[in-house]
Amino acid sequence: MEITTILLKILFAILMIVVVMTLAGYSVLIERKVSSWVQGRVGPNRTTVPLIGGIPILGPFLTRLGIFQPLADGLKFLFKEEITPGHVNKLYYFLAPVIALVPALTTMVVIPFGQYTDPGSGETNALMLAPLDIGVLFILAISSLGVYGVVLAGWSSNSKYSFLGSIRSSAQMISYELSLGLSIFPLFLWLNAPGVAGGLGLTAVVDYQQNIWFLFVQPLSALLFLVALFAETNRLPFDMAESETDLVGGFHTEYGCFKFGIFFVAEYAHIVIGSALFVLLFLGGWHFLPGVADPWPAGWIGAVLSTVWFLVKTLALILFFVIIRWTLPRFRYDQVMKLGWTVLLPLAIANLIVNAIIIAIIDTQ
């Protein structure tokens, strides 16, 4: 590989990290703003920066929207006093936030986010860091590593709240992992059905949805995947890991300052990646609307437009995640387990079998 190619790859990787981290930061803002709107409040509207905040109409508008708030939050985490409780296992205590963040950031390597049509040859390629054939398997494998961060954090903290939080969340993540994987199997069955150019890459899924989104073809899969995704990202109806009301802060009770910040970012990075994954699998990725041909022109303009459209869909899903948080109460722990094992898993398996039978019938005709 040439040195320039490597440098370009590194540049793209840094760009993508910046975008994902910014999205994670701003989904915190979305969360705070939406929660305040739902509750009849105003939300963060004071933070401002000298130069941009001084622009006549735009500055106060952005300030009211709280656009600069994530910046202040991040800086606050950075400059806080680094406190390590005396009763923790130091090595694992410091390792846990890193382990929580790394899988969240690793999965984005295989996430395609747009398309580039070569103006000369008319060939269309997906924009992604690593065009991996087994994209979806890679994501399932890596993202389930995230649970180790939670487990380590709970165990090394040496505190009952952290311990309970991590036990609950690891049990939950392990049980929902199954439904998560099984719920998207039918998609890939159809993708690799006879007569279809298949594969396990995410670009293949997106290409397949050129005409109609999987959401409409496989609504049950979409529902199961969404529920499992909520559980995997520890979002509210399933936020066993945190459950502020009974476990103080759950697995990160003993964490403060930047270490807590990393957990926080990892959690939101998970949501961003999860939303992106749902968009890719069920909402047609960067394809415009079901049944409508893509209006993206050839060349870089089309690439940017398709990426923006993909981001719009992802943001809409993040918004949905947030609104759900302020709509539903938390499940009790046994209800979570019951829902996972006795409802989601059988449904996912049934869904898989029915789809397999349909494909077999079509195949034999």
Partner: protein, 183 residues
């Protein structure tokens, strides 16, 4: 004995057991709330309306002629349950315009760390010189700052537009009373 009404609890229907219709109706509620205007008061800039008869920080007021009303009778000092008021009575100097009033406070201190905002001082004052007005946020960096002295109390109190001419010179008071003023 009161009649007990037994509510029949029907088993959940299938659609209820999937939670989905409930989630949708919940989403409807939250989303409709998102577009309602917030009820927040931007506190330091916007202040809540203070109702009539509010018991805020006790203050001393002056009469319409700008003369101090307090005659240092010390009733408020005696009635004050937490003993927040300290008055040092003094005589009004001879030759002063208000010589006939004879007494006035030399010092008047209300310790806002002790004050319980009960309003008894306002109630007991025969001269209507002390009022609990609409100031509700007092803060300071030291204990000394939280003791309001006479100057501060008058600054907070200002002048009430009442029509009490009791301590005016006799002729002026009679004229004012004849013109429909107070006592």
């Amino acid at each position: 004995m009161a009649q007990t009404k037994v509510i029949e609890r029907k088993p959940l229907s299938l659609s209820e057991r999937t939670y989905l219709p409930q989630i949708v109706s919940g989403l409807k509620t939250t989303i409709s709330h998102m577009f309602k205007s917030p009820v927040t008061l931007q506190y330091p800039e916007e202040r809540p309306p203070i109702p009539e008869g509010y018991r805020g920080v006790p203050t001393l007021v002056k009469d319409p002629n700008g003369r101090e009303k307090c005659v240092s009778c010390q009733l408020c000092e005696f009635v004050c349950p937490p003993r927040a008021i300290r008055i040092t009575p003094g005589e009004i100097a001879e030759g002063s315009e208000n010589e006939h009033v004879e007494k006035g406070p030399e010092e008047f201190e209300i310790n806002m760390l002790r004050c319980i905002y009960c309003g008894l001082c306002q109630e007991v004052c025969p001269e209507e010189a002390i009022f609990l007005q609409d100031i509700y946020s007092m803060s300071g960096y030291t204990r000394e700052e939280m003791v309001n002295d006479k100057e501060k109390l008058y600054e907070l109190g200002g002048t009430l537009p009442d029509e009490h001419f009791k301590w005016d010179k006799k002729k002026a008071a009679e004229e004012a009373a004849a013109a429909g003023g107070g006592h």
